[in-house]
């Protein structure tokens, strides 16, 4: 992790000219708008079962109808409507997880980087211990024990995915701690809290934003995997992972049933990662680990 902590001059201008950033922002923006407007733009009720129109192919494929643009699932529910509501689930999980894990990780990391010594030893230990815990396995075990629910997924992922926030907050705080303007704030008589909140935090924020995109992408993928294994978001909620799980039985006959939610998932995660990559390029640091 080399390079300066603070973004150089003209960094924001460079960011806006970055094609990857534009594409990422477009994808995430569209998904966000679709998720917010879901009740108003879905053609059908995503839970409405129609056993007479099961597994209808998308309208652009052979046998498709104009009534269901992306076809219907094994219970005759409109695939497009479910996909749109699924965007809501992915976005809520992604954002809520990032907020939870970001608060935990940033606090731990700043404390370690700022105070050093014993405090930092404890912080490093917490990070090492957290990294040794297999996330998917523990998340599944907890869901199996307590019964899976939407809230539980957010909580478990939020409590598990803070490690990278802590690592980055710690190392960037360490670099800042010795800089002149922080010393100046000390000399001017600022309290510890004020130095942390007003000098350190704003200056590591962009680095944390890069981590936030990485963690959001990871949280979205993990939620899908958990739901796919039947211990994430419970049915009949239209999580994209759950949609793939429900369609799995039919994929050998009608492959589009797993393609539709899978591509949606892939594109959203790609968009979030593109944003993160562009931010990272702007900072000129490598946080990809």
């Amino acid at each position: 992790m080399s390079g300066a902590v603070l973004p150089g001059q003209g960094a924001w201008r460079r960011l806006l000219r970055n094609a990857g950033f534009a594409l990422g922002a477009l994808i995430v923006g569209i998904v966000l708008v679709v998720a917010i407007l879901a009740p108003w733009i879905t053609p059908y009720d995503p839970f409405a079962v129609n056993l007479e129109a099961r597994l209808v192919p998308p309208s652009f494929m052979e046998g498709g109808t104009a009534a269901n643009f992306l076809g219907t699932d094994q219970l005759g529910r409109d695939y497009l409507s479910r996909l749109i509501y699924g965007a809501r689930i992915s976005m809520i999980i992604g954002i809520a997880t990032v907020i939870t894990s970001g608060l935990i990780g940033t606090t731990i990391g700043i404390l370690g980087g700022f105070y050093g010594g014993r405090v930092d030893d404890v912080v490093m230990f917490l990070i090492t211990a957290r990294l040794s815990i297999p996330v998917v396995l523990v998340a599944l075990a907890v869901a199996g024990l307590l019964g899976s629910s939407f809230l539980l997924v957010i909580l478990v992922l939020g409590l598990l995915l803070w490690d990278r926030f802590a690592v980055v907050a710690r190392s960037t705080t360490m670099q800042l701690r010795t800089l002149d303007y922080v010393s100046a704030a000390w000399c001017a008589g600022s309290s510890q809290m004020s130095v942390l909140m007003r000098e350190i935090l704003p200056n590591i924020a962009t680095h944390l934003a890069v981590v936030a995109t990485l963690e959001m992408a990871l949280a979205i993928l993990l939620e899908a995997a958990l739901s796919f294994l039947g211990l994430g978001v419970p049915a009949p909620l239209p999580s994209w992972g759950l949609m793939i799980a429900e369609a799995k039985e039919y994929m050998f006959f009608t492959p589009w049933v797993i393609l539709v939610p899978g591509i949606a998932l892939f594109v959203l995660v790609l968009g979030v990662n593109l944003l993160g990559d562009a931010l990272r390029d702007m900072l000129g640091t490598d946080l990809s680990r």
């Binding site: 211990a129 297999p134 998917v136 396995l137 523990v138 075990a141 199996g144 995997a225």
Partner: protein, 305 residues
């Protein structure tokens, strides 16, 4: 060097103890384990019998010390569902998971190292950008979904590989590819950035000035230095892959420890779940320790850390 070793070893043991404690606490999350084991249709009497039979009526700290003492000796108790010792179950299935992890890591290295080096040598060209795009695509690919796609495409449409199950080498190809996909992006980025840094250094300039061949400079001087962080990340990635094996093994119905854990979770077989979490965490701890030691051997500067 000795001091460094001792320090790393102490941390590893402390982390292992923490994980032992956490995996004990994990099964106590629901409050009353006996009720969870008995299931929803059990009477109060059934619950009481189970509580007696599994020693759950003892104080929690006694149960904890008992579990800790046995676990350290490799005794994880009996499975509730399979009529076998937990250690036997895990011992029988661990080789499958380990093999799968190594196949995945091997495939990932075969792809990531050359691509990372090429991207570094041709930095900021279309080739570099294409390679970085591959990394982004790999990062965004949901592994279970990729698994299903391969099953339909390679398994059904082309009929090249068995669709799922446990068996000979051919059964490891598709799950191996899927696992490799998850490790390729970070390995590739790291190889690339390491090579870029190495290639711009003074010793490379010296090597060029001496008139050494391009290939010899790249491999002997460049890659050797770039490889140091790659080695440690490869070990860590293997740990992550083993931890993530539960998803891949379930998708492909491979009977490794991940599949065992999934089965056990759905059957409320807590001793097995607990033990698998612990074993995978311990393997991860051992791998990171190994990575640190390898690093210290490869790069003497790190020994003082």
């Amino acid at each position: 060097m000795v001091k460094f070793l001792l320090r790393r070893l102490t941390v590893a043991v402390l982390v292992a103890l923490t994980v032992l404690t956490l995996s004990f606490l994990l099964t106590r999350l629901s409050g009353d384990l006996a009720i969870s084991i008995a299931g929803p249709s059990a009477t109060a009497q059934d619950v009481e019998i189970i509580r007696q039979a599994y020693g759950l009526n003892r104080p929690v700290y006694v149960q904890y010390l008992d579990w800790l003492f046995r676990a350290v000796q490799g005794d994880f108790g009996d499975s509730y569902f399979f009529r076998d010792r937990v250690s036997n179950l895990i011992g029988a299935r661990l080789p499958i998971t380990m093999t799968l992890g190594l196949v995945g890591l091997g495939l990932a290295l075969i792809v990531a190292l050359p691509l990372g080096i090429i991207a570094a040598v041709r930095e900021n060209t279309w080739l570099d950008r294409t390679v970085m795009m591959v990394a982004l695509v790999g990062q965004a690919m949901p592994s279970f979904w990729l698994g299903l796609i391969l099953m339909v495409w390679l398994g059904l449409n082309l009929g090249l590989l068995p669709i799922s199950g446990t068996g000979g080498p051919e059964y490891y190809v598709m799950p191996g590819i899927v696992l490799a996909f998850s490790a390729i992006p970070s390995l590739m980025r790291l190889t690339r950035s390491g090579m870029i840094e190495a290639l711009s250094s003074d010793y490379i300039r010296t090597a060029r000035a001496k008139g050494l061949s391009r290939l010899s400079i790249l491999v002997k001087h460049g890659f050797r230095n770039a490889a140091i962080p790659v080695v440690s990340i490869a070990a860590v990635q293997l740990g992550f892959m083993l931890g993530g094996s539960i998803v891949i093994e379930t998708v492909f119905a491979m009977h490794g420890v991940g599949y065992l854990a999934w089965e056990s979770i759905s059957k409320n077989d807590y001793p097995v779940v607990q033990a698998v979490v612990l074993v995978l965490a311990l393997i991860y701890i051992a791998l990171t320790l190994l990575a640190d030691l390898l690093n210290a051997v490869l790069d003497p500067r790190l020994r003082t850390a």
